[in-house]
Structures are given as structure tokens and as C-alpha cells.
Symmetry: C2
Subunit: 232 residues, 2 copies
DNA sequence: ACAAAAGTGTTCGGAATACACCCATGT
DNA sequence: ACATGGGTGTATTCCGAACACTTTTGT
């Protein structure tokens, strides 16, 4: 047993951060899970995370743990919710501040270890029973991105640099869990003027090749300052 | 010095909850502040809150502190955000989970102590410099209710049982910080069918007396289940 | 009679929706 | 030639925005 040398007048819960990382592979929405090496919930899957250091802000802690456990770095994360039910961790009272992020799978899939490792992408509808209360965490995170994608073009975070309009539509359909009309979707998404049509098409596809587009980040930043509104 | 008898292997931040409570007096949007009795920030105003007990969930802690410090009870609160910058509390690392709520001023103004006490309602545009990072907390809370009132009829939480359409409109205008067209506002708010017109009018007003309405809570609950959408 | 806020309808333009066929490519 | 998904336009409906006068009360 290690020495317990940090003492306080009143009891304190332990504080952790966890990250829900969403990715998209042009087909399926996925989340990044790690397999726990130790008890509690040894060998079960969970969101990457861990204890916050004493002089580290919450967001930094979340990013650090994410990097340590999965190799992902330079990720833009946002705070989602704080879970603190007594009893959610069998080791004692643990309060977890949850962050979430959307990443381009293509940027990261190498590091995360495809399946042999202990960090893996799971399709959103093939998630195993998770450790702790992470099922509830996932539910909350899905709710958040659904709400968010409708009025902010966060979808681009999930796609590669170059993408086709069908890929983008597919992404929206997967996140919102409903189908969208192709012509109306294109009309609306193009009307934002946030897409730049590239002089490049798909290759080696057995149908009319789709044009690639990229997201106009600069323009989006400008619009944000002016109080941008948008609605899928 | 008290004995420090709670010891851990690793250092732990202290955990607190605070509440941002909004009220509305038919005229002005207000928030409930308490005046701190002790250092740090002795005599400065802050949101009510305090340390979380070890076996208490976060929401319960927030409500308990709110009751102890202001007398408010039976308040429906929602989690807003967690603040945890090192240095935000001069006593050491403190992480605060912030909750917010909207309450009917009429239900509560007695308990809170009008001005002599150490809990007071402050008009939103007459807030003093607050303790800790509570300025940032308030900013975040205002952002949240602005975003929320547009697509959820939370305004009713702030009004008395019976209210006039002008009061309701005034509330929306104060929260959104913009004026609304009277006819369009009424059309839209009535089209939700969530208001019940009462057989009762204002009295002793030097103009055409306004009709009172009340909010149809049952119907709203039903609509929520069916996935209600609405937009001011 | 006057002041003050309540209450009420219509018009117009733009956005949302619904909908079907031709195009370019690989096999 | 055929199968596959890409790409495109129009008509209709619905919703948001703009806008001004009459009503009821107290003084």
C-alpha cells in the first residue's frame, strides 16, 4: 500500500476527465474506446480519461489523458457534462468532467491501434456494454452533437480535407438518424457559401465520379464573428 | 488549526457546486447573489454554493447549498458548466460544478431577504464585480438561457401563475436583448396552444386591461414526449 | 377628452418541401 | 448494355417579417 500523504480537513472526491471522441469513415459514425487494463471493469471498454493533476486545468488534463491512452493529439475538445453520482465508480467517489471532440479519422487512425491494441474505433451502433456509467455518457454526447450539427457546420471536423457532397450528406444522416433529400441538402449546404468546389473528381468508381469540395475555414471564422446562423 | 484527517495517495482538488438563479419581476431580469461572510472575497457578492458532501450527488449538493444560503427550495436546476482553472480560488485548487435555474420571483422573494440580508436579487444590468470567476459564470449562464428560450418555452418558469402576453413578451425581450413585434409574438406563442386564456383581466390599470393567461403544463409534458419543436 | 397599453389581420418575400430524370463512369 | 450513384430545377406550401388602427380603461 502506498503512503497516503495528501491530507485534508474534509473528504474530497477524486476528479477525473474523460473524452468522447467521434470519428467518421465516410460510412459510419464511430467513437474511440480504450480497453481497461486494470480493475475496476478490467478488460471492459471505456472512454479514455483519468485523474486530473493538481495544477492542470480540466481541458489540458482531458487532452493529456487522451494522448497517453490513444495517441491522439491536437484535438479541439469541448466540455460536455460532469457526472458525479456517488457509486458510479466502485473505488469510491469519483467526479468526471466529460469532454467531447470530432476528429478526422484519416488523421488519426494509425496511432489508435486498429484492433490488436487497447484503443479502437467502434461503430456507433456496435458499442459493447461500457465500463462505469459510460453508456449514459455516450447518450449525452450523441444528444449534444445532434443538437449542435443542426446549427453549426461541425460536420466538416469529421471529414477529410477533400470530400464529396454525398459523403457530407451521409454524415448528416448518420448523426441525425434520418434521411435527407439530396437536392434540398445540396441547395442548403451550398447556399452557405462555405464550400469550395475543387477541380478534382473521384476516381475508379463505377458511376459518375463525384466532385470533391473543401470547407472554407477562413470564411467560416469570419461569419462566426458576425453572428452566423444556419440551419440544416 | 483543525486536524486534517482525510488522506489520499494523490492530491485532490476541492469540489463545490454553485447556482445561478434567474428571476423576473415583470420588468427586469434578475439573479440571486449572496454576500460572502468570510475570506476569500469577504463581503463581495457571489453565486450561492459550497462544498459537496461525500455521499451527496452534485445536484443535491447544489440545492442544499442554495437552500442553506438563500432559503430557496424545490427549485428545478440544470447543470450548466464546470469551472476548474487552477488559481480561480485563492485557497487552492477548487473545481465548481455550476447549476442554473429559473424561478418565479413571486414564490421566493420573501425568503431571500430583500436588501438587509446577505442574499439579494440583482438586476442583470446592475451586477457588482463578483467574487472568484463568477463574472464568467454569469456570462455563460446568460448565454445558455438565451440559447434555450428560443426553442423551449422556459419563459413560463420565470412568470407568476397568471400572466399577460405583454409580460411574457417583455420577458423574452429582456432575455434575448432585442425587441419583438407584438402581433408576430402573439401569433407564434398562441400557435403553440400552450397557453390557456383565463376569464380574468388586469384591474386598476389606466388603459385597456390585459387578459391573463396560464401555461398548460400538462400539454407541454405531452408534447415533450412526442419530440416537441418550437421557435420564437 | 386624453393618455396608455391591449388587442387584432393582411400582405409579401423567401425558405422549406416534395418530387424525377439525365449523366458519367466501370464492368 | 447495364448498373451505380452523381448531379440538377421547378412548383407549391408554409413561415417569418413588416406594418397601423381600434378598443378599453383611468384620470
Amino acid at each position: 500500500m502506498r503512503e497516503k500523504k495528501y491530507c485534508y480537513e474534509y473528504p474530497r472526491p477524486a476528479l477525473t476527465t474523460d473524452c468522447v471522441i467521434f470519428g467518421f469513415d465516410s460510412e459510419k459514425l464511430k467513437v474511440l474506446l480504450i480497453q481497461r487494463k486494470f480493475d475496476p471493469f478490467k478488460n471492459q471498454w471505456a472512454f479514455p480519461g483519468g485523474f486530473v493533476d493538481m495544477n492542470e486545468n480540466l481541458e489540458t488534463a482531458a487532452k493529456r489523458e487522451l494522448y497517453e491512452e490513444t495517441g491522439l493529439e491536437n484535438v479541439y475538445i469541448e466540455q460536455l457534462f460532469t457526472f458525479g453520482e456517488p457509486g458510479r465508480d466502485p473505488r469510491g467517489r469519483v467526479v468526471s468532467v466529460i469532454y467531447y471532440a470530432l476528429v478526422k479519422l484519416s488523421d488519426y487512425k494509425i496511432h489508435a491501434g486498429d484492433d490488436a491494441g487497447d484503443a479502437r474505433w467502434f461503430e456507433i451502433d456496435k458499442i459493447p456494454k461500457l465500463a462505469f456509467d459510460h453508456d449514459k455518457v455516450l447518450e449525452k454526447a450523441l444528444e449534444r452533437i445532434k443538437g449542435k450539427i443542426i446549427y453549426q457546420p461541425i460536420g466538416f471536423e469529421l471529414l477529410p480535407e477533400k470530400f464529396t457532397l454525398s459523403q457530407l450528406q451521409n454524415l448528416y444522416e448518420k448523426i441525425l438518424e434520418k434521411t435527407l433529400d439530396k437536392r434540398n441538402f445540396r441547395k442548403k449546404i451550398l447556399s452557405t457559401k462555405l464550400l469550395i468546389k475543387l477541380d478534382e473528381k473521384e476516381q475508379n468508381v463505377a458511376h459518375k465520379p463525384a466532385n470533391f469540395y473543401k470547407f472554407n475555414t477562413e470564411k467560416y471564422q469570419e461569419l462566426l464573428k458576425k453572428g452566423f446562423e444556419f440551419q440544416i
